[in-house]
Amino acid sequence: MMGDMPAASSGAPASGEAAAAVAPTSGADLADLLRRSARGDEDAFAALYDATSRRLFGLVLRIVRDHAMSEEVTQEVYLDVWRHCARFDPGRGSALSWLMTIAHRTAVDRVRASEAARRRDDAHAASSQEVEFDTTAEAAQSSLEAQRVRRALTTLTDAQRSAVELAYLGGYTHTEVARLLDLPLGTAKTRIRDGLVRLRDTLGVPA
């Protein structure tokens, strides 16, 4: 399953020009904004917010669903980022990846802590501005990067793709993912890992 080379079928070269690096602002700029923010530069932080808030808020909203709670979580994320920006270590990954990691973890923790059933309420799903994410639907306004990611997702098996999406975009645990996909307990984590490995090989390892 891991033997074939999906990169060959991908439209984009699997170079260092990687997914996370194709940010609204280049990774080096974001890292610089973080450095300046660490010195208390609020203008730099405002620029960081402007460059990343669509990405972070969108992710939080996708996971949390509820609009008001998503705003609250996003604010908490940025406050956390501000407080910790001196601790960002460029040697461990890109600035955007760091921000997204904080946002993802915070959003996931919030939905799990605040009664998981809530976000699965139809009422909340209906109030979300996002429709269910569908890899087959190419949104007309989809960015080049989004198109590239969608293409990369087609190199995954159905089980891998569903598992990765439910875990990352749905915020479900691998145990819940196994239940949702009718997989034997314990296999969802393997699907998630295999899917991510495939994505990594297709998109290239983000700098």
Partner: protein, 268 residues
């Protein structure tokens, strides 16, 4: 490396482990460079999916974020790994140093002869594991994370604050600020202390649930990080406790408070 644990790297990267699994995998990450490298790659890869979910936040959010940060000082960079060990060694007899702590009334510390009790007993629920993991990170950065000190660990305060009936109380004494989040539904309280000096040698901070009648139940040991911050979920359940208090105790903790509390916060 254990193959079983290794296979958790993907699920860890996308936050798909439950709290107990996450805590144990982080212990593994601390000692497994292969897994650390793989998690870093898979985490970065997973965020590519963020390109599919962009959404414009309301303009008001920008204003509240920027006004929020204006009131918060960014933490300083980590300049040396103190690697402070967790307060695990029971100390039988501690000379009283009389070293000043946060407030004047904390001077009297009759340390010797205090009973040492097993404070980490009965961590029955996975729920506590998250707080424990956070505590490990605070204590010495033993646990790996993609940033230097794990800001996105589930904050105990946030966990409690998420409850529908959560309340917060805070108190300031000199340079010490204490905030408690409490939910009677959850039966849990979390505390966040800032301006906390390191405990004197051979001493530790200890948390207590204090009943309306003044009786105290131990609720865990707390270590101040190099920034003077200490935050954790109180151990055990709040039950009928009316207050939460913090004292200085001999390392390893005491069965009952042996010093006057630095601060007491009411849960009522």
């Amino acid at each position: 490396m254990s193959p079983d644990l290794h296979h958790l790297s993907g699920a860890y990267a996308v936050d798909a482990l439950d709290e107990a699994e996450r805590a144990s995998f982080e212990q593994h990450l601390a000692v497994c460079a292969d897994c650390r490298a793989e998690v870093a790659e898979l985490t970065a890869t997973s965020h590519a999916l963020g390109a599919l979910t962009e959404a414009t936040p309301p303009p008001a959010l920008r204003a509240s974020v920027l006004s929020g940060i204006a009131r918060v000082r960014p933490l300083p960079p980590v300049t040396g790994d103190a690697g402070e060990p967790a307060p695990a060694d029971p100390v039988t007899s501690v000379p009283v140093t009389g070293e000043p702590v946060a407030t004047p009334d904390a001077g009297a510390t009759p340390g010797a002869g205090a009973d040492v009790v097993p404070l980490r007993r009965r961590r029955t629920v996975a729920w506590f594991a998250a707080a424990a993991a956070a505590a490990v990170i605070a204590a010495g950065g033993l646990v790996w994370s993609p940033w230097s000190d794990g800001p996105a660990q589930p904050s105990p305060m946030a966990q409690v604050a998420a409850a529908a009936d959560a309340m917060r109380v805070s108190s300031t004494k000199g340079s010490l600020t204490a905030e408690v989040a409490y939910s009677s539904q959850l039966g849990k309280a979390a505390i966040d202390l800032t301006g906390l000096p390191p405990a004197p040698a051979g001493k530790t901070y200890q948390l207590w649930y204090i009943g309306a009648d003044g009786s105290a139940r131990p609720a865990g040991l707390l270590t101040a990080d190099p920034d003077g911050r200490g935050t954790m979920m109180l151990e055990g359940v709040a039950g009928s406790a009316a207050n939460v208090g913090v004292t200085v105790e001999p390392a390893g903790g005491s069965a009952q408070p042996t010093t006057a509390p630095l601060v007491v916060l009411s849960l009522a």
